[in-house]
Symmetry: C2
Subunit: 359 residues, 2 copies
Amino acid sequence: TRETTYNFNAGPSALPTVVLERAQAQLLDFEGNGMSIMEMSHRGKVYEAVHNAAIERMRKLYNIPEDYEVIFMQGGASLQFSMIPMNFLSEGETAGYVMSGSWSQKALKEAKMQGVAYEVASSKDNQFKNIPMDWNVQDNTRYIHMTSNNTIYGTQFKDIPEVNVPLIADMSSDIMSKPVDVSKFAMIYAGAQKNLGPSGVTVVIVKKDFLETAKEENPTVLQYKTHADSNSLYHTPPTFGIYMLGEVLKWIEEQGGLEAVDRQNEMKAGLIYDVIDASEGFYYGHADKDSRSLMNITFRVADEALEKQFLAEAAEAGFVGLNGHRSVGGCRASAYNAVPVAACEALATFMKEFQAKHA
Amino acid sequence: TRETTYNFNAGPSALPTVVLERAQAQLLDFEGNGMSIMEMSHRGKVYEAVHNAAIERMRKLYNIPEDYEVIFMQGGASLQFSMIPMNFLSEGETAGYVMSGSWSQKALKEAKMQGVAYEVASSKDNQFKNIPMDWNVQDNTRYIHMTSNNTIYGTQFKDIPEVNVPLIADMSSDIMSKPVDVSKFAMIYAGAQKNLGPSGVTVVIVKKDFLETAKEENPTVLQYKTHADSNSLYHTPPTFGIYMLGEVLKWIEEQGGLEAVDRQNEMKAGLIYDVIDASEGFYYGHADKDSRSLMNITFRVADEALEKQFLAEAAEAGFVGLNGHRSVGGCRASAYNAVPVAACEALATFMKEFQAKHA
Ligand SMILES: Cc1ncc(COP(=O)(O)O)c(C=O)c1O
Ligand SMILES: Cc1ncc(COP(=O)(O)O)c(C=O)c1O
Ligand SMILES: [Mg+2]
Ligand SMILES: [Mg+2]
Ligand SMILES: [Mg+2]
Ligand SMILES: [Mg+2]
């Protein structure tokens, strides 16, 4: 049952129970219209209201300035890795990438397939344990790309360096987990499947004057302008996903907004980091302390054989998704917005008891 | 309520009630796993089984030969319009497009943005009332693109001309509505939101030896090969949409498979075409009789003022989605697989009664 299952999946991941309950109640008949929201035309009044309300909630919660567009797309963050250089990188220009892990590496690889790009900074030599804050920006840099939270290594930006070129952030794994000064960014993007809803929706927040500098010879649906100019209705959007995203945003409002959610996230991650730090080396964290993510808590059990047992016993006890990413191993607890405090308390307790038994 | 609502939406459109009921029952706890299918990792065993079962069902229902790949993607049919020439059209080659309406026009436009393309045939001069069967294939044609069912004008291919170049079909609005000889096509694609599930999933069925001729310099997620080589799990797929698609395929099996669904579709469309044909000109169909679609029944009320009243009274009576596409006006009843016989009977009766009152 949901009560005995603690969902720490890295993405797709936990959704608020009340959001699922509301979706369930309306699944066959949305607001008395005799149809599911999934069965409605994206050009009809009912869906359009849902669509526009989701955009408005996002604007309000993130305090998005008027001169930014909010766009819903398909294709995940991975398509953004390609669309960004397609739209913004021309001959004679270069793009700077801040390397904080595998997602930045993938983003850089796609940029290099299409033009010239370089590393502004990297923590690779430190096994991506820290967020690289010392940036080397070259002349003629069209934009700088950063990953605000590294889902795999469990690191997260605390502050954003001041730069005077357009800054683009992949916020896939910490979007809407805390207040952000959107005006610092030319563009923010994220797959919805961690903090915002089911997979299949990508959110793009982009400054209008930056958008206007995009190239216009790209395929129609691969131009941001196409989606911005049509209120994300150029073609059929992923309507159910956008509906769910709107419901998740409503839930964030009900929690008291992003300040409240942020406090809650600090508390939740703190519960687990505290166990790690008090374990006298039985557990150790992967990330350097000043780069620790509140979203993805990556750690190891020092004794490798015990680590296997830890993961096996945790799975038995109802903890889901605690295996580290297949590329790095170890353990990872993803404590996104919708993961309840009680789940983090349960994990902290389980970790302490496991240590007591085996230390 | 669902009982008093007749959903004739063109897409997104009606889903089988039993599919929605099953999804509803499991929405918070999928098969006893304590989580929604939406909250599960796409790398986990539970989701992978759902994913693979959907592919298997598609293979079985469509009798897809071993040497074809079945791929799930994002981006709708519109992204396919661009990906096809990106992947398959090189310098020195040309691509032929069969023009049966606005969707073919959009597909051709994207091809021309990227290379050389021409019209193999067109019914434009006949207001797209018929399916053009007389094809003029030029030398050096890389592929021919056709739209198997025109959603807007309500026309549908009955037979496929024999050609000796790779044939690609946009089947967005008639996929899985009847048996198809897949081996006649190099590639078939469709957005899911008409016959297969919610919007946000694109199905691509592609012959392996054709796939191998694709260019390899495209952005990673814009190469078919990327998705084929990773069983559509290169990055996060739209998991809930694929789950729903699998449930719709299961429902098709329960109906007796594609032959049975085809018979049902003929019967359903026949109910409405019969009223049109017996109306002595009160109603008239848009499509030529031999090109009529079983999926989208396009018609007019001869008297324009009465047509407005017809649409208004129909809406009052619980009929949804009967307005023609905003680009052409008139009336359109989309009777996809999941639209029940009872809905078509109700519409036929309503049309007869409306005529009796106003003729
Ligand atoms: C930071 C980050 N960027 C990009 C991605 C890729 O997103 P998608 O699978 O939606 O393409 C992920 C997925 O986990 C991620 O965590
Ligand atoms: C035949 C056909 N092709 C393509 C499309 C566009 O599909 P999408 O909106 O998923 O991009 C449609 C949508 O109605 C269609 O009917
Ligand atoms: Mg992932
Ligand atoms: Mg990274
Ligand atoms: Mg449409
Ligand atoms: Mg067409």
